[in-house]
């Protein structure tokens, strides 16, 4: 359903306040966040980190419109493995795949003999570049958007590019049963944040079941109000309540529209509800549900609610016990986005097994392997290969776990996820088979432009070290005249990438 004022409205909190008369508390919350974002932006502009400088320099160099990668082994995903083949990239798209391809005179030509080319890895569960992950104050925070907390200078993005990752599903954390809205991005590190947004990706929302959404109630301290829910029973109830309200809200708007259509006079438009709007989109199939979950029972619980309210779950995230209820997941038509072999870190994860990918794949579930961590994101190739070791998936099935399958789960499969003519040139050159532990990435392209190149990276290091020395000797970085050591630099953002290790309010930036 479309709302009278477009999404633009939501970018100006003051305007929202005037038009929609939000309760003051919520308004304050929004204002505060905007202020933080401003401070953040200023600080980003003031102190661009070293790799960022490099990235910005790269932006100034004009990328050739055409690139020809020759004599490589192409792991196409959808059309098998092509030996000694070429791939031609033109104006950001894959223009041709074959043998003996010709490029125009000023094309960049890369001889990739002995090397492997695969589509860029799609990570279906990431919190990279998010300066806030959990709006954990309420159990339903469908009004908040990860889009409002993106930090395009997060250096881990560059490190992920160096692991062959090109697209990310940036999810809200798992602090609440219904969390915030996601953002799908291409890692265009060094570009303005607007260019990161993946065009046409399906909007999504994070749900969370099990321990995390009920854990916020845990520190049962005097004077602290416990947040509902505290049990899995309550988690179900929170979701049921929210969708019941969303269904009524939708009815109200549908009735209003019908009345407008009948040209009735003196109609008063219903008040907009930013919390329920995304849930109405879920009911209408316009927004994908990505639900954090671990245990078999909670997976079945959400399927049951979805069936009752008539919506589909696009992906279960983590879904550690998915293998126990693989057929039910397949029957619902949900995908599964999982860790390859991460287990045992908490009681909920004690039954996680590395055979999860194989069992669910064989049951007909579209499975992807994700990172949920800036660290693991850099080696998803190895995590995918583990699905061959545990459970014996074929190489093609295992490759799909980090390419086409996550693309399907995000509604971007027409653009990325395989090497096919007409698709976006999000392409990675590896110096060996990406499933070998001895391989590493040579070059990562997004839309035909180079965003990581090992040789360029190595060549730039001497200059960066020189720049670092200069910065260290600069006046503000010298020890203060009053003695004592120099001021400590501002630390990295707290490492709260792992929403599974979320521990209440403390971890919120």
């Amino acid at each position: 359903m479309d709302f009278p004022a477009g999404d633009k409205l939501r970018n100006d909190p003051e305007q929202i306040n005037q038009t929609l008369q939000l309760p003051n508390g919520l308004m304050e919350l929004k204002m505060k966040r905007t202020a933080t974002a401003r401070i953040l932006l200023v600080s980003i502009l003031c102190c661009a980190s070293l790799p960022n400088v490099m990235a910005q320099q790269r932006r100034e160099t004009a990328e050739p419109a055409e690139t020809l990668i020759r004599n490589a082994t192409l792991l196409t995903i959808t059309r098998g493995t092509l030996e000694n083949s070429d791939i031609l990239i033109r104006r950001g798209k894959i223009a041709a795949i074959g043998k003996g391809l010709k490029a125009s005179a000023n094309a960049r030509v890369i001889d990739a003999a002995g090397k492997f080319v695969m589509p860029g890895i799609v990570d279906c569960h990431s919190h990279s570049m998010l300066d806030a992950i959990n709006e954990g104050s309420l159990s339903v925070t469908s009004m908040v958007r990860t889009r409002d907390a993106l930090n395009p200078t997060d250096v881990d993005l560059y490190r992920e590019l160096a692991g062959g990752v090109t697209s990310l599903n940036l999810l809200h954390g798992s602090a609440n049963a219904i969390g915030g809205l996601n953002t799908v991005v291409k890692i265009k590190y060094g570009r303005p944040v607007e260019e990161f947004i993946f065009p046409g990706a399906m909007p999504g929302i994070k749900f969370a079941l099990g321990e995390n959404p009920k854990r916020a109630s845990n520190p049962n301290l005097p004077g602290v109000t416990r947040r509902y829910p505290a049990t899995r029973m309550g988690v179900e109830e929170v979701i049921r309540d929210a969708f019941t309200r969303a269904r009524d809200y939708k009815k109200t708007w549908d009735e209003y529209r019908a009345a407008t259509g009948r040209r009735e006079k003196n109609l008063i438009p219903p008040q907009r509800d930013l919390q329920l709007e995304p849930l109405v989109e879920v009911l209408e199939g316009k927004r994908y549900v990505h639900s954090h979950c671990y245990r078999a029972d909670e997976i079945l619980m959400l399927i049951s609610i979805a069936d009752e309210f008539g919506f589909k779950i696009k992906t279960f995230q983590h879904v550690l016990e998915g293998y126990k209820v693989a057929k039910e997941i397949a029957r619902h038509g949900a995908g599964a986005s999982i860790f390859s072999d991460f287990w045992g870190y908490k009681i909920e994860a004690y039954d996680a097994i590395p055979y999860n990918a194989a069992i669910m794949t064989r049951a007909g579930v579209v499975v992807s392997i994700n990172s949920d961590s800036d660290e693991r994101a850099r080696r998803l190739n190895i995590d995918a290969a583990k699905a061959m070791r545990y459970g014996g998936l074929t190489e093609e099935q295992a490759l799909k776990l980090i390419t086409l399958n996550p693309a399907i789960q995000l509604g971007i499969q027409e653009r990325v996820g395989s090497l096919e003519v007409g698709k976006d040139a999000d392409v990675v050159i590896w110096n060996g088979h990406p499933f070998s532990v001895y391989s590493r990435v040579d070059t990562t392209f997004i839309d035909g432009d180079v965003f990581f190149d090992r040789q360029q990276d190595l060549a730039g290091r001497a200059d960066l070290l020189k720049e670092r020395t200069q910065l260290e000797q600069a006046e503000p970085n010298r020890p203060p005249a009053r003695g004592g050591p120099p001021q400590a630099p501002r630390g990295r953002r707290p490492s709260n990438s792992d929403d599974d290790l979320w521990e209440g309010e403390n971890n919120q930036p």
Partner: protein, 467 residues
């Protein structure tokens, strides 16, 4: 520490009797805790049907016609290995096979020494979050030299089978808390009791070398406390605490020695804390210092020199920056951070990946560890593989998870390579031991053939064909 087998047997039986009762009590407590936690009811920790904690018997085996990757010497193509009484009895292209030996056809397969992870807490923690009854890593207080990992290793931890079926046969398991965390043990990853698992029950002292600011993250971490001078002073005070205890232990040892020689001297009292430190302050056993940053590693090495300790660095994120110094001081490093994110924003993307190669080039003794508490130790080969993708030779990557950790932990004469007389900890694979897609076909620990089943294979078997 070497003990002859008789002494060792006696020790082990004593150890068994010590550990038996508390272990029972602990498991009872765990069960009670679990029952009381409704949320945990579905997952039974220590489910007897999914644990493989019964030590299989030693046997006589011959693996024939395999590629034998000895690690310490050249590979042997079409070779055979004879295993008897827990040891590698013979090795080569033509060996005499004892009668009654079970024969394993090794055609197309490779035999490797079992991998060793020198930086874990295997068996000391089952589930880190949500099941405190299963966590035995950190004692109360800062100085716990008498906390011994071997006492609390749970032989029936699901982590052990999960880890060993991927080719890791031994590990150093260590306590983690405070300043002096306690004593690490070298264990084989199979056994019914800690005693049966112990290769060296008291292998090293573990010290968390005081760090300025927070452990993990950048300088100052997320919560810089403002007053750096005060923070520095605090770490100096902590170092002084450790120094004092070690010096006391040295004096304690000398007092007891003197009294042993001359009973006319006043009899010194026994002290369990100081007593456990004596072999370490005398340099008889290594002291493992957890340290990642250059200043801490240098501090730890200076401290060890001053007190004549035998230092090993655990962590070593910045070791590549001070490789020359480490070489000069002949201090080995157990690298745990290869797959960690670089700790500084302006570090190059491959800083941690390259650490091992840089140490190798400088001639520093090192080995590669997962640094994991337990569940993810099985990923050890991929740590080594990543180091090899970034400059370390494949041969050295293999050594870094087999022979090098054995040598650093002073068991190079017993573990880490395939040589006659060494403990028969062997892995038979269908390919490169470090590669993800390689399958383990047979597993021997201490000359015992170990089934390739674990909690994970059991759960897989239970659910894979559910209709």
């Amino acid at each position: 520490m070497k003990t002859n087998s008789k002494v060792r047997q006696t020790f082990l039986s004593v150890l068994d009797s010590i550990t038996h009762m508390p272990a029972k009590k602990i498991s009872l407590l765990v069960i009670l805790l679990l029952v009381s936690l409704a949320s945990a009811a579905a997952q039974q920790i220590g489910n007897p049907t999914t644990q493989q904690g019964v030590t299989p018997p030693r046997g006589t085996y011959v693996i024939r016609n395999a590629r034998i990757v000895t690690v310490s010497g050249p590979d042997i193509e079409n070779g055979s290995v004879v295993i008897r009484d827990g040891k590698i009895e013979a090795l080569g292209t033509s060996v005499s096979v004892p009668s009654g030996a079970q024969s394993i056809d090794g055609r197309g397969l490779s035999v490797y020494p079992g991998m060793i992870d020198a930086g874990t807490s295997l068996g000391l923690v089952e589930v880190g979050q949500g099941a405190p009854g299963t966590v035995d890593t950190s004692e109360v207080g800062d100085l716990n030299p008498n906390a011994k990992a071997i006492i609390a290793v749970n032989p029936h931890s699901a982590h052990l089978a999960v880890t060993r079926v991927d080719g890791i046969t031994s590990a150093v398991t260590m306590p983690a808390g405070g300043l002096i965390s306690g004593q690490a043990a070298i264990i084989n990853l199979v056994g019914t009791s800690p005693g049966e698992m112990a290769v060296v029950p008291y292998a090293a002292l573990v010290i968390n070398y005081p760090r300025v600011g927070n452990r993990g993250g950048d300088f100052g971490g997320g919560q810089q406390t403002g007053n750096l001078t005060e923070t520095l002073a605090a770490s100096v005070r902590q170092i002084e605490q450790i120094r004092k205890m070690l010096k006391d232990a040295d004096a304690y040892g000398r007092a007891h020695d003197a009294y042993a020689k001359d009973k006319s001297l006043p009899r010194p009292n026994q002290d369990v804390m100081l007593e456990s430190l004596v072999p370490y302050v005398r340099g008889e056993r290594p002291v493992i210092f957890r340290a990642d940053r250059e200043s801490e590693m240098r501090g730890a090495i200076r401290f060890a020199e001053e007190l004549k300790l035998k230092p090993v660095i655990l962590g070593g994120d910045d070791a590549w920056k001070m490789a020359t110094y480490l070489k000069e001081k002949n201090v080995p490093v157990i690298i745990t951070g290869i797959l960690d994110l670089p700790s500084r924003e302006d570090d190059f993307y491959d800083t941690q990946y390259e650490n091992a190669a840089k140490l190798q080039q400088a001639g520093v003794r090192f080995c590669i560890s997962s640094g994991d508490g337990g569940p993810n130790v099985r990923n050890l080969p991929y740590y080594a593989g990543m180091a090899a993708a970034f400059g370390l030779s494949k041969a050295d990557a293999l050594k870094a998870v087999t022979l090098y950790p054995a040598q650093i932990m002073n068991v190079g004469d017993r573990l880490g390579s395939i040589e006659v007389g060494k403990m028969a900890n062997l892995v038979v694979t269908d390919g490169d031991l470090l590669e993800t897609r390689t399958a383990v076909r047979h597993l021997f620990i201490d000359g015992r053939e170990v089934k390739l089943t674990s909690r994970h294979t059991d759960l897989n078997d239970a659910f894979k064909n559910r209709k």
